[in-house]
């Protein structure tokens, strides 16, 4: 919950609500990009971001994304976050 996880923004899904699709360790998940959006939303596509509980909070470069992901895997946090994303999908049903 407290540590963000790196994800790559792949598409803008709902410009009015500032929502985008992100890929986080192979899992696709819709995220809010209000905190990292500039004037041109499309410029976010293919960028890496640190994602906290469904919100992109900071843009990072690819190298930082890889290093962060590795540390999160060591800590077991990456797996936990991905499990929580999956559980959340179930909760919506």
């Amino acid at each position: 919950m407290c540590l963000g996880i790196p994800g790559r923004i792949t598409a803008i899904t709902d410009p009015a609500r500032l929502m985008a699709m992100a890929e986080v360790s192979g899992v696709r998940r819709e995220v809010n990009v209000a905190c990292v959006a500039g004037n041109d939303l499309d410029a976010l596509v293919s960028q890496w971001a640190l994602i906290h509980v469904g919100f992109a909070m900071s843009l990072i470069d690819e190298d930082e994304a890889a290093k962060t992901l590795e540390a999160l895997r060591d800590l077991g946090e990456a797996q936990e976050t991905l499990e929580q994303m999956a559980l959340s999908q179930e909760a919506l049903a």
């Binding site: 919950m1 407290c2 540590l3 963000g4 609500r17 998940r29 819709e30 995220v31 809010n32 209000a34 905190c35 990292v36 959006a37 640190l50 906290h52 509980v53 469904g54 919100f55 909070m57 900071s58 990072i60 930082e64 290093k67 962060t68 590795e70 540390a71 060591d74 800590l75 077991g76 946090e77 936990e80 976050t81 499990e83 929580q84 994303m85 559980l87 959340s88 909760a91 919506l92």
Partner: protein
């Protein structure tokens, strides 16, 4: 020592450890008279244990594990209030999974769910919003929990709910802030801290200036740090360098992620939706002035405390914590987890008594998970 295989960059780690040792020796700190450095963030606590940094580093440095895990500092009374809301008819109670096992006086959320309450683990408040859209006949409550890192997410979700005119969504707000408990710790006459490792992702939101008072008013250095092992070692080196040179400043080791002034969109959303409570209760630390946030009157319709007449809204506070739990002393660095009479006996990760045992970011759970052999040796 699995040193080489554990570190992506063992050469850099060794160089940092050597440089730290030289500074610590120059300061004259020893195992008997160590420097006490507090890592505020639970993520840092987890990382220190995972990589065994506390054992690799010069013995003149002692890490004190701070109150920076929002699950760990959640008082029992708040868990009771969650259960009370969740058990109301028609409610769908949504929470981060981390909070499910925190003990309350009657039961945890996990037990309440087993007893039939509709409690759902969600990854994001956005999922709670979506549940509210899909279930117009139900009251969807989100358990808003966390420091400044998660506060923007609930603020933005409440703003979104207001824009959509949702009437069946509310947040049970337990957001807390990092600087205030640090001030409370520094004001404690028994406190012997020499410096702070500042939280990375909290600072990404609020920037580095909210910590200025620590250096200015209390003369203690703080370095904002990333949570990779070399980040932490680099930060410790920056701290001991300041101490050796007699400086006390706020420095930023994690500038690649933490902007000096934080994230303006997040800060604006927090300011729009939340205001400070006069005080908020922390498990083990008691009520701390201005350390918690509540929803502003203009968003009252989304405040679960108001909607359900619960919590601070009722004035019914100060429920005592459990007997024999030393969580408070551990969080203040006065006691090691192993010094708690309950550690490993009445309190284990499977059956936590205190909250420090619940989350992998809690000092007791970290000791338990990574410290079995060490504890026996101590």
């Amino acid at each position: 020592m699995k040193f080489a295989s554990e570190f992506r960059d063992p050469v850099a780690a060794r160089a940092l450890l050597t440089a730290i040792a030289a500074k610590v020796d120059a300061i004259g700190a020893t195992k008997a008279k160590p420097l006490h450095l507090m890592e505020i963030c639970g993520g840092h606590t987890h990382s220190i244990f995972r990589y065994g940094l506390d054992k690799l580093i010069h013995e003149g440095i002692e890490f004190i594990h701070g109150p920076g895990c929002p699950v760990c500092v959640l008082p029992m009374a708040r868990v009771d209030e969650c259960v009370e809301i969740a058990e109301r008819p028609g409610v769908i109670f949504t929470t981060f999974g981390d909070a499910m096992r925190v003990p309350g006086h009657r039961k945890s959320l996990m037990q309440a769910k087993a007893d039939g309450a509709d409690i759902r683990m969600v990854y994001s408040p956005l999922d709670a919003l979506e549940l509210a859209r899909r279930n117009p006949g139900r009251e969807v409550v989100f358990f808003g929990l966390g420091f400044e890192t998660t506060t923007p997410s609930t603020a933005l979700s409440i703003q979104q709910a207001a824009r959509e005119g949702l009437t069946n969504f509310s947040v049970f707000c337990n957001h807390i802030t990092v600087p205030e408990p640090i001030k409370a710790l520094l004001d404690d006459p028994d406190m012997v801290l020499d410096g702070f490792i500042g939280p990375g992702h909290v600072s990404m939101v609020i920037g580095v200036h909210p910590y200025d008072f620590i250096a200015r008013d209390y003369g203690k250095p703080l370095v904002v740090a990333g949570f990779e092992p070399t980040d932490l070692l680099q930060s410790v080196l920056m701290l001991v360098t300041q101490i050796a040179e007699g400086r006390a400043e706020v420095e930023n080791q994690y500038a690649r992620v933490v902007p000096e002034h934080g994230n303006p969109v997040s800060i604006a959303a927090i300011a729009d939706v939340y205001e400070r409570r006069p005080s908020f209760e922390w498990r083990g630390l008691g009520e701390i002035d201005a350390s918690g946030l509540r929803i502003r009157p203009k968003y009252q319709a989304f405040d679960a405390e108001e909607k359900f007449g619960i919590g601070y809204a009722t004035g019914r506070r100060n429920v005592p914590e459990i007997e024999g739990c030393a969580c408070g002393s551990v969080m203040m660095g006065k006691l090691k987890p192993t010094g708690c009479p309950q550690f490993g006996k009445g309190c284990t990760p499977e059956m936590p008594l205190g909250a420090l045992m619940v989350s992998s970011e809690g000092a007791c759970a970290a000791y338990w998970q990574y410290g079995g052999a060490r504890v026996a040796a101590e």
